[in-house]
């Protein structure tokens, strides 16, 4: 495949370095070179709530596209790419991995919603509560709450020496129920998958960089699991 003519040196060097580049990276390289001309970089954040970080690993699987992404966006908050602890103001797009399981998750969810234009529910845990949500089975018919979860995990299944953890202020308290993200804040876009593949993440982010809504249809974009 012949890459699109690239006016700037970086894209040209990249094109020669990887002659067998995929169509997606060609598209990204092309958009990267046009964007270098003028518009301000979008402020991108990624957040990690109750999830295994697999979605973030998949984000890192964007591989060489990360370099192109780095040219197009300013990564202002992310557990995998930044050391900033406070969620910043005026964020354009945020990928939110994980369900809402404890008070810290809830606090960050509310904060990022208030400070972000476009919130993306990123992966099955954010979209459905998925595996973290299975502890809701212990909150039987809404009775038992977090205490039932701690009882099961720390006492019932312990070898006899188990006791309830008690460290107020040290670790965030569990919520009685684990929620999908859209149950606690309005969500603008859903990106299912456990984890969503790098291709699916790219197919979501690339149109957004152009100011367009990605087409969320078909198994490549929508299949859960």
């Amino acid at each position: 495949m012949t890459p699109a003519p690239a006016p700037d040196a970086t894209a040209a060097a990249e094109a020669t370095a990887s002659p067998d580049a995929t169509a997606t990276s060609d598209a990204l390289a092309a958009t990267g070179s046009t964007a270098a001309a003028a518009p301000p970089r979008l402020r991108l954040a990624t957040a990690w709530l109750a999830g295994c970080s697999g979605c973030h690993m998949s984000f890192l699987d964007l591989d060489e596209l990360l370099f192109v992404l780095a040219e197009r966006v300013e990564l202002v908050y992310s557990p995998v790419a930044s050391d900033i602890k406070t969620y910043p103001e005026a964020v354009d797009i945020c990928l939110v991995e994980g369900a809402v399981a404890n008070t810290a998750n809830l606090e960050l969810a509310l904060q990022l919603r208030a400070r972000t234009a476009l919130v993306i529910s990123f992966g099955d845990c954010a979209v459905t509560a998925n595996v973290p949500g299975l502890r809701n089975l212990l909150n039987r018919e809404g009775r038992g709450g977090a205490a039932a979860v701690l009882q099961r995990s720390y006492v019932d299944l312990a070898d006899g020496s188990g006791r309830h953890p008690h460290a107020p202020g040290l670790v965030p308290e569990l919520l009685d129920q684990v929620w999908p993200l859209h149950a606690v804040i309005p969500v603008d876009l859903y990106l299912p998958g456990c984890p969503p593949s790098a291709e699916r993440i790219a197919a979501t982010l690339l149109p957004l960089l152009e100011g367009q809504r990605p087409i969320q249809a078909g198994p490549a974009m929508l299949r859960f699991g």
């Binding site: 529910s121 099955d124 979209v127 459905t128 509560a129 998925n130 595996v131 949500g133 299975l134 809701n136 089975l137 909150n139 039987r140 018919e141 999908p180 859209h182 149950a183 969500v187 859903y190 299912p192 456990c194 969320q216 249809a217 078909g218 198994p219 929508l222 299949r223 859960f224 699991g225």
Partner: protein, 239 residues
């Protein structure tokens, strides 16, 4: 055989008398989403995904259990129907405990595929987290009721093709559940021939081979139709 003519989505279709609206729709080259329907089994209209609008009738009807009638005007793909179908599949996900991430049927699950077909990117309904059991008492197969959508394909394939009638649906409303025998552990039901047709007919990961782990179930749902054809062959002449 007498034929009759009707209009489906503006298209004139001629079908044999006695055809279902689902069969007529397929003859017109149109696809209707189905989960509880399986060719070769008696239709029951359980999943409500094949609902269609028939001109002159205020209520939507499931195409699988409705007979095609002369002169009918039927719509299968209106905005209202698409929205209701998507709601129905969201309700399936919210009603049970469906976790595609580690399900035995992931990749071959008809519910998972239907969510894609109907454009479900999330469920707008709150997940119910019902308490349901896993029955692993059978030596070859298991039932994980968390993944059961009560389509009753297993009930029908066992009763109609195998003639064993091991399965039934017990209870009402959200307490409905699949039961083996007289609500016994599956492994204790003498009537079960261990033929495995219920596992093949199950659209989700509710019934599965014990050997199968995550995403390892590869069912053959059309086996029911093939077996029905064998049943329906004329008796072999005496040698």
């Amino acid at each position: 055989m007498a034929a009759l003519t009707l209009r489906i989505d503006g298209q004139a279709v001629a079908v044999p008398a006695g055809s279902s609206l689902l069969a007529a729709t397929r003859l017109a080259g149109l696809a209707l989403p189905v989960l509880c329907h399986l060719d070769g089994l008696t239709p029951v209209g359980a999943c409500r995904l094949c609902l269609v609008a028939i001109e002159g009738q205020s209520k939507l009807q499931p195409a699988c259990t409705s007979e095609a009638l002369e002169g009918q005007v039927v719509a299968t793909n209106t905005a209202e129907l698409r929205e209701l179908r998507r709601m129905a599949v969201e309700l399936f996900f919210a009603e049970g405990n469906h976790v595609c991430a580690y399900c035995v049927a992931s990749g071959a699950c008809e519910l998972q595929a239907m969510a894609v077909t109907l454009g479900m990117d999330h469920s707008r309904f709150p997940y119910q987290y019902p308490l349901r059991d896993v029955d692993a008492s059978h030596p070859l197969f298991s039932l994980d009721a968390n993944r059961c959508i009560l389509c009753s394909r297993c009930v029908r394939v066992c009763a109609e093709l195998e003639g064993a009638h091991v399965w039934d649906i017990a209870g009402r409303g959200r307490h409905c559940r699949l039961v083996a025998g007289l609500d016994q552990p599956w492994g204790e039901v003498d009537a079960c021939t261990s033929c495995g047709q219920c596992v093949e007919a199950c659209p989700t990961g509710a019934l599965f081979h014990k050997d199968d782990s995550t995403a390892e179930k590869h069912p053959h749902p059309i086996r029911a139709l093939q077996l029905r054809r064998v049943h329906d062959l004329p008796p072999r002449p005496d040698p």
